[in-house]
C-alpha cells in the first residue's frame, strides 16, 4: 500500500499535478507488497476471516482444534454476520451530535502484538475506515456536521503504524536471511545519457531473458555522449569554483573589518 499520500485527504489538488508528469512523483512498484507476502506469511498462511475459524473452534474439541488456536482474549472484532449494516456502525450513535474517541494505535503498542493479531486488526481498521467514509459522505450530502470527524485521521494513522510494524519485521527477517534490508534491492546503472542513477526493482510477469519487450526498451549508454558529459562537468566545476571564490572574498572582507578577531589567530602565527 505504501500509504505515501493520505487517501482520505479530500482537499482538491492542482490540475498541474495531474497533467504534468514530473519525475518527482512516486511511482508504483509492487516489490514492497511482494516482500510482505512472501516473507511474512509464506510459512504460516492464515485464513484472514475470523468467522470461519471461530466456528471450527467451537465445533471441534480442544485436542482437534490445535491448528486453529489463536489468542482472542482482550481482542474484539466486529461481527461479520451484520453484513451491509457494518457500513453504518452502531444505530445508537446515528443521532449523536458529538462522538468521543480514544487515541490511535501507536507503533509501540503494535510492536507488542502478534502477527496474527495485527492481521485481524487490519481488517477491523479497514471496516472502521469504510464506516467513517460512509458517514462523511452522507454528512456531506445532507450538509451536516460529521460527528467525531477526528476518528478518520486516527484510523488512518493506526493503519500507517501497522504497516510500519509489519515492514520492520519484514526487514529484520530479510537481514537474518539475506544480510540486507530489501529482498529485491535496486542497482546503480548508467542512463542512456551517461548519468549514474538508481533503478528501482520492478516485477515482471515474463523473465527478462525471455521478454522481447524488455529487450526493446533497454537503451544503452553510447560513448559518444562522453563529450556532452565533459562539457557538463566543466560547468559544474566552474560553478564550484565560483562558490569557493565568493566564500574566499567574504572571509577576506571580514578579516579587514575585524582584524583582531580570534577566528584567524592561527593564520597570523603561521
Amino acid at each position: 500500500m505504501a500509504m505515501s499520500t493520505n487517501t482520505l485527504l479530500r482537499l482538491p489538488r492542482p490540475i498541474s499535478s495531474i497533467l504534468m508528469k514530473t519525475p518527482f512523483l512516486p511511482k508504483f512498484h509492487g516489490t514492497t507488497v511482494c516482500t510482505i507476502q512472501s516473507n511474512y506469511f509464506s510459512t504460516n498462511p492464515t485464513y484472514p476471516f475470523q468467522r470461519h475459524v471461530l466456528h471450527r473452534c467451537l465445533l471441534q474439541t480442544a485436542a482437534q482444534s490445535t491448528c486453529y488456536t489463536f489468542p482472542t482474549r482482550g481482542f474484539h472484532t466486529s461481527r461479520t454476520d451484520q453484513g451491509l449494516e457494518e457500513f453504518f456502525g452502531d444505530p445508537k450513535l446515528w443521532s449523536e451530535i458529538d462522538i468521543k474517541s480514544g487515541r490511535e494505535w501507536l507503533v509501540e503498542d503494535l510492536r507488542l502484538k502478534d502477527n496474527e493479531t495485527l492481521h485481524k486488526l487490519w481488517y477491523v481498521l479497514l471496516k472502521e475506515r469504510n464506516m467513517l467514509l460512509t458517514l462523511e459522505a452522507e454528512a456531506d450530502r445532507q450538509k451536516k456536521h460529521m460527528p467525531g470527524d477526528d476518528r478518520l485521521e486516527k484510523v488512518e494513522t493506526s493503519m500507517k503504524n501497522l504497516k510500519q510494524v509489519v515492514q520492520e519485521r519484514d526487514e529484520a527477517l530479510n537481514e537474518l536471511q539475506l544480510g540486507r534490508k530489501e529482498k529485491h534491492p535496486g542497482k546503480w546503472e548508467y542512463s542512456p545519457f551517461g548519468f549514474m542513477h538508481y533503478v528501482k526493482p520492478k516485477e515482471h510477469l515474463i523473465p527478462k531473458h525471455m521478454s522481447k519487450y524488455w529487450a526493446a526498451t533497454q537503451r544503452q549508454y553510447h560513448p559518444s555522449m562522453g563529450r556532452f558529459i565533459r562539457i557538463w562537468l566543466e560547468k559544474v566545476r566552474k560553478e564550484r569554483w565560483r562558490r569557493a571564490r565568493i566564500e574566499y572574498k567574504r572571509i577576506q572582507k571580514l578579516k579587514e573589518r575585524f582584524p583582531d578577531s580570534d577566528m584567524w589567530e592561527d593564520d597570523k602565527q603561521s
Binding site: S4, P14, Y40, D81, F87, L126, A139, L205
Partner: protein, 145 residues
C-alpha cells in the same frame, strides 16, 4: 496513489493473495430510485468488478450477484486566482445483492427527541415564573434580603 495488488509472478505458482488490502469502499445513497436489491458504492478507480465482489463477499460476508461500474466525471473548478483544481476521481459501483437479499439506506442524522423548540419553550416558561416571583416582591431582587 497506489494500492496493494497481487504479485504478477510468484515462484511455485501459489494462490495469489493480498494480506493487507487497502481499498476503501463507501456506501452512498443513490440519486435516483433503484430496485431494493441494488446498493451503490464509491470506490477507487483502480478497483475492478472482481475486486469489489471479493471485497464484499470475503470481508463483509455479503452475497453478490452482479457488479456494474462507471468511472464518474469529476469537473474542474477554478478559485479566485483563476487556478484550476480538481477533486479526486472515483468509481461508482452498482452492486446487485444475491440470494434474494434487499437493503435500504438508513436515515442517518435523525433529530433527537428533545429538539430545540421544546428546550426554548422550557426556558421561556422558567423566565416567566422568575418574573412573576420578582413582581410579587415589588421589583426587589433576592440579593436585597
Amino acid at each position: 496513489m497506489s494500492f496493494a495488488r497481487y504479485a504478477p509472478f510468484l515462484p511455485g505458482g501459489p494462490q495469489r493473495r493480498v494480506f493487507f488490502p487497502d481499498f476503501w469502499l463507501k456506501m452512498v445513497k443513490s440519486r435516483k430510485p433503484r430496485p431494493p436489491n441494488v446498493v451503490v458504492f464509491h470506490c477507487p478507480v483502480q478497483m475492478t468488478k472482481f475486486d469489489i465482489k471479493n471485497y464484499l463477499e470475503k470481508i463483509y460476508n455479503v452475497p453478490v450477484a452482479k457488479v456494474n461500474t462507471t468511472v464518474m466525471f469529476v469537473p474542474i473548478f477554478r478559485d479566485h486566482q483563476n487556478r484550476r483544481w480538481m477533486n479526486d476521481e472515483f468509481k461508482e459501483a452498482y452492486v446487485t445483492l444475491g440470494e434474494g437479499q434487499t437493503f435500504e439506506f438508513p436515515e442517518l442524522f435523525t433529530p433527537p427527541e428533545n429538539d430545540e423548540d421544546s428546550v426554548i419553550e422550557d426556558l421561556k416558561q422558567k423566565e416567566k415564573e422568575q418574573n412573576r416571583a420578582l413582581a410579587a416582591r415589588g421589583g426587589l431582587s433576592t440579593w436585597f434580603g
